[in-house]
């Protein structure tokens, strides 16, 4: 099943803006859930199960924490090409959100700088 058109656009836009550092993702108490505030809304992306092929869910919440809209995606041989493509798009968003929330690029570059100083 394809994502509703607006959700599809939203996932694309969020991925683009996150790449440009224009959306700030934050960690939550759940190590595999990240959230970002965008104007009056909060979006969350969550992975369940395996790091390689776990299910992914994307939710839009209002400021009172009420889930307004959401999609989930799973990957597998038994899934259609569209379902697998949806999952890949959510995985791309999840990965970039995770890296931004954990500041992993900075961690890696700091570590590299430390190693270079040792060498």
């Amino acid at each position: 099943m394809t994502f509703p058109e607006q959700i599809d656009r939203l996932v694309t836009k969020l991925t683009e803006l996150t790449e440009k550092d224009k959306v700030e993702w934050k960690e939550t108490a759940n190590a595999t859930t990240f959230l970002a505030s965008v104007d009056k809304f909060i979006v969350t992306i969550n992975r369940t199960g395996s790091e390689v092929n776990g299910g992914l869910s994307f939710q839009i919440l209002d400021r009172t924490g009420r889930a307004v809209e959401g999609v989930t995606a799973h990957v597998g041989r038994d899934k259609s090409a569209v379902e697998n493509a949806n999952w890949e798009r959510l995985r791309d968003l999840y990965e970039i959100a995770r890296r931004r929330a954990l500041h992993s690029e900075k961690v890696v570059s700091d570590l590299l700088a430390s190693l270079e100083r040792i060498a």
Partner: protein
Amino acid sequence: MDFLAKHWGDLASIVGLAYAIYLAYQARTAAEQARDAARAARDRIFSLDTIKELTTAKMALNEIIRLQRLTAMTVPWDIVLERYGSARDSLVRCAEGLGVPDPQRQSIGEAIVLLSIMEESIERACLEEDPGRLDIAGFNQRLSAQMNDLERARIAIERAES
């Protein structure tokens, strides 16, 4: 003098009209002032309600941290979950309150979602009878950060109001 004698009635009408306009203006100004004062009083009441709810939420978070410092098996999870719920309810009332500046409304919204995620994790762990798997130290660290954010929100609301 001749002019005045001929037109004193017209002049009196003009003066009377001007005086009536002046009185109407004064009355309008007084009404506007009364309306502004009523609005200010109402906003102040709403703002005090929001601050009260923020304080209630912070007290609940404080208690959650205290309870979660017990070892996982001795934490009264049912009470902890009830406190999460009451903190969230207070924050929802704040998020819906009037006079909350947008950045603070946003951080209150984030706090609500973060609390929901913690609640869900606890519910799952309790249902699966495995609360030991919860990263309680991490939870408490996040709750402390949330309390700081809520305190900043409270100060900003007070400043916006004054």
